[in-house]
């Protein structure tokens, strides 16, 4: 078989540069496998070589999407690869968005790409059509199972072997329809499925109904000067010491904190509990995430009727969609009962 060249894209953490304090670094290119690339090299088919690794900080990539894309695109091109592997990103949101974007960049250059993500990673929903995404666990603890799966799929893709369905191959559905010859005609298959269903047996639908969960935009508020506005954040702002012990990632609960009589949030009184971004700036001035000072000023100017005397906070870092839905449903219920008509939700 021909020799195949593979380029790996990873973030600052897996690139062994640093944690959140290094999430701002610009793309850099190395001509050898790094981090997960070392393990992947041993798992890939013999004719595949990881010729380069591109590393970029998660915050830099997401805050500078256009520049980062252009630079990473050029770096990929310079390696002249047959395939790009990005991640795996597990349930890291910014990393998943970056890996997805890298997949799209490669796709636009006519190069196939493979990544690995947890199904709730926002990168899946946004970029699944552009690359193969192997389904992984929600944390890097699943690296040991993710790498062999990625290597296997990557080998198939780069060597042009026939690709099976998402279920057969272990990647997340890309929403692509492919014509195949079936042994039985549609009506036969439908009756077979119905019989299985009636008998309470397992069956697999040939066309899962897509789930579109969208909420209609609420009506605009004509007179904000007459309404109570509440603040909610997924940025983890909590009273100093984090009294409710909200987890730094995968939060299991949220907090409700009084801001009655406060002109703003000070570093003496508040901090962030979030483990997914560099906490220095939020700890220095929590108003940078939860803008109590600005809302208070606008309340005084009469631009809003009233600032609700409590804010709600949780940590949106690998937190499951199910938990986020639960928190927000409870918060919304309370706010409706309190007559709050508008919410400003901030995210980091």
């Amino acid at each position: 078989m021909d020799e195949k060249r593979i380029v790996l894209y990873i973030n600052q953490f897996f690139g062994q540069i640093g944690g959140e304090d290094m999430a701002h670094i610009e793309p850099q290119s190395h001509d050898k496998p790094i981090g997960p690339g070392v393990g992947l090299s041993n798992l890939l088919p013999k004719n595949c070589t990881i010729v380069g690794t591109i590393i970029c900080g998660d915050s830099y990539f997401n805050e500078n999407l256009e520049e980062a894309s252009a630079t990473v695109g050029k770096m990929i091109k310079d390696f002249n690869p047959d395939l790009v592997i990005a991640g795996p990103a597990f349930n890291a949101g910014r990393y998943g968005m970056a890996c997805g974007t890298v997949g799209k960049i490669a796709h636009d250059m006519g190069i196939p790409a493979v990544s690995g993500m947890y199904i709730e990673n926002p990168g899946v929903e946004s970029y699944r059509q552009y690359l193969y995404i192997v389904e992984t666990t929600n944390s890097a603890a699943g690296m040991r199972t993710a790498l062999p799966a990625i290597a296997k799929l990557a080998g198939k893709v780069v060597n042009g072997e026939p690709m099976g369905t998402p279920t057969e191959e272990g990647y997340l559905s890309r929403g692509i329809r492919k014509n195949v010859f079936a042994e039985k005609r549609g009506s036969d298959r439908a009756v077979d499925m119905l019989l299985k269903k009636l008998a309470g047996e397992e069956f697999e639908t040939e066309y899962p109904i897509p789930l579109f969960d969208r909420v209609e935009p609420a009506a605009a508020i004509p007179e904000l000067s007459k309404v109570t506005v509440a603040l909610v954040t997924s940025g983890g702002i909590v009273p100093k010491g984090n009294p409710d012990r909200i987890e730094a990632s995968s939060a299991s609960h949220y907090g409700k904190y009084s801001i009655e009589g406060l002109e703003g949030l000070t570093s003496e009184g508040f901090q962030t509990a979030h483990g997914g971004y560099d906490p220095v700036y939020a700890n220095e001035a929590p108003n940078r995430v939860m803008p109590v000072d600005a809302l208070r000023a606008l309340e005084k100017e009469g631009k809003i009727g009233k600032l609700f005397p409590y804010f709600y906070a949780t940590v949106g870092n690998g937190t499951s969609v199910a938990n986020a839905v639960k928190f927000a449903t409870e918060i919304a219920h309370e706010l409706v009962n309190e007559g709050v008509q508008a919410v400003i939700l901030t995210s980091t």
């Binding site: 959140e20 997401n62 946004s126 969960d213 609420a218 949106g316 939700l345 901030t346």
Partner: protein
Amino acid sequence: MVKEIERAGIAVVHICTVTPISLTVGANRIVPAVAIPHPLGNPKLSEKEEFSLRKKLVEKALSALATPVSEQTVFED
């Protein structure tokens, strides 16, 4: 979270830096923020300038709440 609050009938505006994620999770009114670790601030500015930047962003969020929208809308400058 944005979606569940809106589902309850409360108008909500999402201030965030990574707007593509906000679009994916289904926010309808989105105001782009400054940076991931300081969405409503900029440590490079003086305290006064930073407050005025923050206030402007919040005012933009309020004007988004006052604007009728029929689909997901990112309120760019």
